[in-house]
Symmetry: C2
Subunit: 293 residues, 2 copies
């Protein structure tokens, strides 16, 4: 039978072959895979250097093995290690100029690979969306939530996606400048906060907490990337933003939303929020919620 499982197998085979090919291209620079992986792990962290423990966790390497690989890289003149300034037991590894060159060479191998794949496809955007969906499905446990500035690039990316989704879903369209606080100024420390959900370097969702120093906060701009919907990320983000609110000594949260976003309305109803009368003059919302912390 042409089961779903056959389709997954085909995917696995295609991807395994592809990953193998990528590994082979990594071997093209005359270095064993393990060494190349360590070089890349160190290179990813920029010039600040990276703690060895971090590298070990990231690559799942044994301490002894990493140590030996580092010696190899040091002998090649690609990596320097130095004691950690705050903790003499730890060491930091960083790339030398030569190491940065090698790192860049690996990067461009892998980028070229990606560009070739995209360039050869008739619908690159669908391909990327498909990749996002699969990466989210496979990596759902590795999504991390962290604080950010709403003016950061990743935040702006999420907000732009959010606004354009609102524009698509609201009958009357959406213009952020008509909404209160369009530049998110009050979603920063010390009064508020802004959270991003990250998955392997790609932001998958955001939520803002607007405060004025008092005990009442307002949740704004909650958005989840389409590829990550249904994985429980909205609940996690809401939980995280409630914790942040408590940490800012708030005891009441409010939010507004629109019935054109039924999944959001349902989420609020199912997680302890209750409807209250309109509390602002924003033209878009038609539902208003409050929650006691």
């Amino acid at each position: 039978m042409l089961t779903d499982i056959a389709r997954i197998r085909r995917f696995n085979r295609a991807v395994t072959t592809e990953v193998g090919a990528l590994d082979d291209s990594f071997l093209g620079r005359g270095r064993p895979l393990g060494v190349a992986r360590v070089l890349n792990a160190i290179g990813q962290s920029g010039s600040a250097g990276r703690e060895l423990g971090e590298v070990r966790d990231f690559l799942q390497l044994d301490s002894g093995l990493l140590s030996r690989i580092l010696r190899t890289l040091e002998e090649e003149g690609l990596v320097l290690t130095a004691p950690h300034p705050d903790d003499g037991r730890k060491r930091l590894a960083r790339l030398t100029a030569k190491g940065q060159g090698e790192f860049a060479a690996y990067e461009s191998l892998s980028d070229g690979h990606a560009a070739r794949l995209l360039g050869g496809h008739p619908r690159p955007q669908s391909l990327l969306d498909a990749m996002d969906l699969i990466a989210s499905a496979l990596g759902r446990n590795r999504i991390e939530i962290s604080q950010a500035d709403p003016r950061d690039e990743a935040s702006l990316y999420c907000l732009t996606e959010y606004y354009s989704e609102l524009a698509r879903r609201f009958d009357q369209g959406f213009d952020v400048t008509l909404s209160a606080d369009p530049d998110a100024a009050s979603m920063r420390a010390p009064c508020g906060t802004f959270l991003l959900a990250w998955s392997d370097g790609l932001p998958l969702g955001c939520v803002g907490l607007k405060g004025n120093g008092g005990t009442v906060g307002e949740i704004k701009r909650m958005w989840i990337a389409p590829s990550a919907r249904g994985l429980g990320l909205a609940k996690r983000l809401m939980g995280a933003v409630e914790s942040a609110a408590r940490a800012l000594s708030m005891n009441t949260l409010r939010l507004d939303t629109n019935s054109a976003l039924p999944e959001a309305v349902a989420l609020y109803r199912n997680s302890g929020w209750h409807e209250i009368p309109r509390f602002n003059n924003d033209p878009y919302p038609d539902h208003f919620f409050e929650k006691a912390l």
Copy 2:
């Protein structure tokens, strides 16, 4: 910047981790990966046995290495090898009953993995579609065209998809029983043929050639899976079916189509077909083409 390349990288990382996890689960049965892979390669070919050369090509193994792995499997009582009946130099490997048990255990590990992935996702159909799209993009060079019976399961799968796509795209819907030759009887040897495009066990497209023993043939039921569109597969299928027509001593091909399928009309116009007057009473088509071979 949040480039497309960052998204591909994230996909690569997610998938590499996943493939690693799959490999780990393969190691769960106390056998090294290479041995497990050979066991699976032999098991896939059913009870007939598989030529060692085939296994070597499939797994990209060195002859010596395969030989040793086979000895391991024989010692474990999982595999039997015997000389090839037609060529004493070759050998055939097949699973013993115990080997089939182990093979089934590996299969169910991998199926369980797949089922868990699908079951844990809110939109399994989107996930499968995304996998198809990616597998087609990665494996575009490995698509093979072969002859089939239109009553085979894979053919029926393609035809069903084809009919339901027509039903979606035609304003008036589509009912195959209103069309001439609904059961594809004349698309089989010796007068006609039916071709399938295969990618790693999944049929991605089909085309029928209807003949009556004369020099005029008719192309019917050309369909390409959505995930494989734009990769040039339609051109390949048309080329293959034209060769098949020549082999059946045909010198003229005809076909009908509908302006609701503009990509098909464009393909015919761009590959040597010219429009002719209606040549049947089929209720659906509104364009008719002919090509001299």
